[in-house]
Structure formats: C-alpha cells, structure tokens
C-alpha cells in the first residue's frame, strides 16, 4: 500500500534521478529544443524536497500540493506548469488520504494527466510527456484489472512508460518547442516524455524499497 512515506520516498528518488539525468535530459532537449530540460527538472525537484520536508508527515494531498507549487514556482519553461499541474490536480483528487488504494493510484495519474492536457492542450502523438503518461496510465489500469499486485502493476506501468517514451522517437512534434522543427523533430526522443518515464520508474523504486 502506498502511504505518505512512499510518496516522500518517491519524490526523493525523483530528485536524485533528475540530478543524475540532468545532462541526459538536457542533451535530448538540445537536439529538438533549447537545452534546458534537465537543468529545469533538477532545480524543480531540489526545490520540492526542501518545501515538502516540513509537511512530510501530513496527508498525501498536502505533499502532492506542496510539490506542485514548488514545481510551478521553480521549474519554469513548459515543464514547470505541466508537472506542477500534474501534482496539484492529483492532490485535489485525493484529498485527505493517508494511504492510496489501487483505485486511488489510478486516480492520481488520471487526474494528473487530465491536468496536463487541460493546461498544455496536447494530444497523444504530439511528441510530449503525454506519450509516456497516457500508455503508462493504461497499463496501470489494466494491470489492476488483471489482478496483479501493486509492484507488478507498477512494473507493467514502467514498461509501458518506456515504450511510450521510445514511441516519441519517430514522431513529428506538434506541441512545445520541438514543433517549430517540423519534420526535423522526427528521430529524436522527447525530453519531457523521458523525464516522465524516469518519474514513473522512481515510483516503482520507491514502492519496492519500502516493501
């Protein structure tokens, strides 16, 4: 079962992952964007860690909301409002929960994804973080429908996220900075789709490390 400590562990792993993958994400962004995605994500999750430390023991929605505000207030660029909204909208959907059932976890990602689509107006196939998030959410849903346990479900999710991330390689971008490149954007993996994959991987790691 996911509780507030799992969420905090997730965010700590995420911060470390963004730090470790800063160069990788930034290089991906250099190819079809402006070479800042890794720097932005590292700054944002570092900030999130400092802001959540006083609320670590509160309900999950408080932690998620603080994370969302931290990201909006420090990431900037496209990723800031998008990831920020993901966490804010997830928090709104899960008010005052201390533990997340499987349904709650699906709701977290579903609300977050909806938030990203409301703010960013991208559709699947536009070569964005949505191309990771949407199939990952589907995989989580069907894993639970199939009756897997949490860890197994998250493994399905990570696998789908990876495939979703890689599916962005041949895509021609229709949203974000990469869209200015037109056909030239094809052949490159989307940085936002990649950071989303990393975040989902971290959730699996967090749950595994707590079980």
């Amino acid at each position: 079962m996911i509780n507030n400590r799992t969420i905090v562990a997730w965010l700590k792993l995420a911060a470390r992952s963004m730090e470790e993958n800063k160069g990788y994400l930034t290089d991906l962004d250099a190819a079809i964007g402006d070479a800042d995605h890794g720097i932005n994500m590292e700054r944002g999750f570092k900030k999130a860690l400092t802001l959540i430390s006083p609320v670590e023991d509160r309900d999950i929605d408080a932690i998620l909301k603080t994370t969302g505000m931290a990201l909006i207030g420090s990431v900037g660029g496209a990723a800031g409002p998008l990831y920020g909204t993901f966490f804010l909208d997830a928090a709104k959907a899960l008010s005052h929960l201390n533990e997340l059932s499987n349904t709650d976890l699906v709701l977290l990602f579903e609300s977050g994804l909806k938030g990203i689509q409301r703010v960013g107006k991208a559709k699947p196939g536009d070569k964005t973080m949505i191309d990771t998030l949407q199939p990952a959410l589907e995989a989580l849903r069907s894993a639970f429908a199939y009756g897997t346990d949490l860890i197994e479900a998250l493994r399905w999710m990570v696998q789908a996220a990876k495939e979703g991330m890689e599916s962005t390689i041949p895509m021609v971008a229709k949203k974000g900075r990469a869209s200015y490149l037109g056909e030239r954007s094809a052949g490159h993996q989307d940085p936002g789709a990649t950071s989303t994959y990393l975040l989902i991987q971290c959730l699996l790691d967090a749950v595994e490390s707590q079980s």
């Binding site: 402006d34 800042d36 960013g120 900075r177």
Partner: protein, 357 residues
C-alpha cells in the same frame, strides 16, 4: 566554455545584481521572486506593462524597463520561462490602479506561466490581460505546431505600448494596440554559430564552418533548415523576402474576456505586407555578430524593400533581442501607420533603449 562568469548557476542572479547597481537611477531589482521594475513604480493612473521570459536575450527584457517602456520584467533562468509567482509579485508591485498588460512571447512555457499569473492576479482583484507575440515566419503554420514564436516584434511592441501607456491608454485600448503591433510584424532569423548555455557548458548544436541554421528562434534551438553559408546579400535578401512574401497568417489564440470573465479563443489574422506600405525595419544581432556587419545586411534589406515598394520610415539596428553569444541576425518588418510611428518616436529612457529624454 569561455565566459566572463563565476558559477553557471549564479549567472542570472549576479548579472541582475550588477545591473541594478549600474542602473540604480532607472530600475530596481527584487529577488525571490525575481523581477526588475521601474525605480518610480507604481506610476498611478497608468496601465502597467509587464513582460518577461528566459534570460540570455539581453537587453530584452530587463533592459527595457523604464519610462516609456516596461513597468517590470521577469527574468527566468537562461532560456527558461519565468514562473507565475515572479509575474504576480511584479504585478502587485507596479500596478498603478489601471491594471496590468502582460506581453507574452508565444512559447508553450511562457504562455502557460503567464496565463497562470494572470489568473492569480485577477483572483486578487487586479485587472490583467495577456497579449501574445508570434511573429516568426520561419514557423510555417499553426495547425501542426505550437504556432509561430515570438521574436523581434516583442521589442517593438514593448516600446510602442510603453509609449501608449505613458500617454494614458487604458487597458483594453493598450491590449488592442499590442495585438495590432503583433499582427503587423513579421521576423526571420539566421544563426552562424550556436550559443552555449552556461549550465550546459558546450554549444547547443554543432555547425560546420560552411553551414548556417536558417529560421532559428532565440533559444539556440535548431532552425527551419540547415544551409550553406552564403554572402550576406543573399542571406539578407532571403530573410527579407521570406517576410515580405509571407501570406496571410491565421491562428487561434486564447485571450481573457473581461466581460464574460473567461478565457476565450480568438481567431486572428496577420495581413501580408503590400506595395506602398510604410515599415519599421529592425536589423538585430543575435549577440555575437559585430556591429560592422549589421549595416551590410541593412543595405541589402533597403534595396529589397525599395524593389518591393516598401518605404522604410523608421530603423532599429543593433543587438536588441539576443541569444547569448550566438553569431547571426534577425530581420523584423513592422507595418507602420501614423499612430504606431508617433508612439515609436515618443521618448523612452531605459538601460537598453533611450531617446528623447
């Protein structure tokens, strides 16, 4: 990476500290959240003009804060849109009771962050409108993309709207004017070299000695296409013709409707330039191109305009919207009418643009 900086993560902050010392008579700098504002703000009875965006384009935007131009500017990290808290605090600081106009370059990050800021400002009872700048003809259409980028027209819109705010235009009229400047402006740029983001430490892209990137933005992003380096005349002619021969450009933008109190989609069209038009010609250095080269481009631009029946009525030439040390240039043509020309001529007193006072 060879730069006159200390630590890459301190560049923006230290630059702003020095900036505020150097121009203490004109501007003040607030940190956490970070924004630059007129030393005499708030100016009561005047609409406040706020812009902002990633750093690395100096003098834009911080250099355009002052009398006759911006009330405040919100600098983000290098090439990264600033965040809503910066814009909100800037709005609170410079609002003179007549509301705030946010001038926003059309990048997904900027658009989202400024929209959030405007929502937050309105929730506090401030009047706030956002106008998008999207003048880069290198981005071919808005159906399959984020829409055109905001580039050179931003500087012109800030100057012209700054003058109008000084003259006492109210918020809706100022928003109309800003939209009109944008619809009548078109730009296109070229890079000869990449720039290097300090925190990255190496050039964003590699270009062979004989290659250029045509149709670039202002963030070191790759352009429309890679091409052979050609003589300046051919490059200037290509850029100018790309602008002049660009057809009507349609897009849908989201603007706040003050009556209905909701965001609303608005279909807008930029009319093409036509024979007989008066224009403001703006030749811009991307940062690393030295001053001696710009007039060579201007010379060809003037010849092409003459051939196409465009009268250059005003000129701006220099490094006004840059991409760090990138070598290259952009050209912007803004169709002028009497009102725009006269607002352009009004006095302005900022660190980056100054005349008349």
């Amino acid at each position: 990476m060879k730069k006159l900086i200390n630590h890459p993560e301190d560049v923006v902050r230290e630059s702003l500290e020095g900036f505020s010392l150097a121009y203490a008579d004109l501007v003040k700098v607030h940190f956490d959240p970070t924004f630059v504002y007129r030393a005499d703000a708030p100016v009561s009875g005047k609409v406040a003009l706020i812009s902002g965006g990633g750093s690395g384009h100096e003098p834009m935007h911080t250099g355009y804060v002052g009398r006759g131009m911006l009330s405040a500017a919100c600098p983000g990290a290098i090439f990264t849109s600033p965040t809503p808290d910066q814009m909100l605090e800037a709005a609170r600081t410079v609002d003179g009771g007549q509301g705030v106009l946010f001038i926003v370059k059309n990048y997904s990050g900027d658009v989202m962050n400024f929209s959030m800021a405007a929502d937050l400002a309105r929730s506090e009872g401030l009047r706030a409108l956002n106008i998008l700048i999207d003048d880069d003809v290198a981005v071919k259409n808005s159906l399959y993309t984020q829409g055109r980028r905001g580039v050179g027209a931003t500087v012109l819109a800030e100057k012209i709207c700054g003058a109008a705010a000084e003259r006492g235009y109210d918020l809706p009229r100022l928003a109309d004017l800003c939209r009109r400047v944008n619809l009548n402006a078109r730009s296109m740029g070229v890079a000869l070299t990449s720039c290097t983001v300090p925190a990255v430490g190496h050039p964003t892209f590699d270009l062979a000695e004989d290659q250029i990137e045509l149709g670039i933005g202002i963030h070191g992003e790759p352009g429309q296409r890679r091409a052979q380096l050609k003589p300046a005349d051919e490059i200037a002619e290509f850029l100018t013709l790309s602008i002049i021969e660009d057809g009507p450009y349609q897009r849908t933008v989201s603007e706040w409707n003050e009556e209905k109190e909701e965001w609303q989609d608005l279909a807008l069209e930029s009319p093409p330039l036509k024979y007989g038009d008066s224009v403001l010609a703006f030749v811009n250095s991307m940062g690393g191109t030295p001053a001696i080269e710009l007039p060579i481009l201007y010379r060809k631009l003037a010849q092409v305009c003459e051939k196409k029946g465009l009268r250059i009525a005003r000129t701006l030439m220099g490094p006004y919207i840059t991409s760090l040390e990138m070598a290259g240039c952009s050209i912007t043509l803004l169709k002028l009418d009497e009102e725009l020309a006269s607002l352009w001529d009004d006095p302005v007193k900022t660190p980056g643009l100054r005349w008349g006072i």
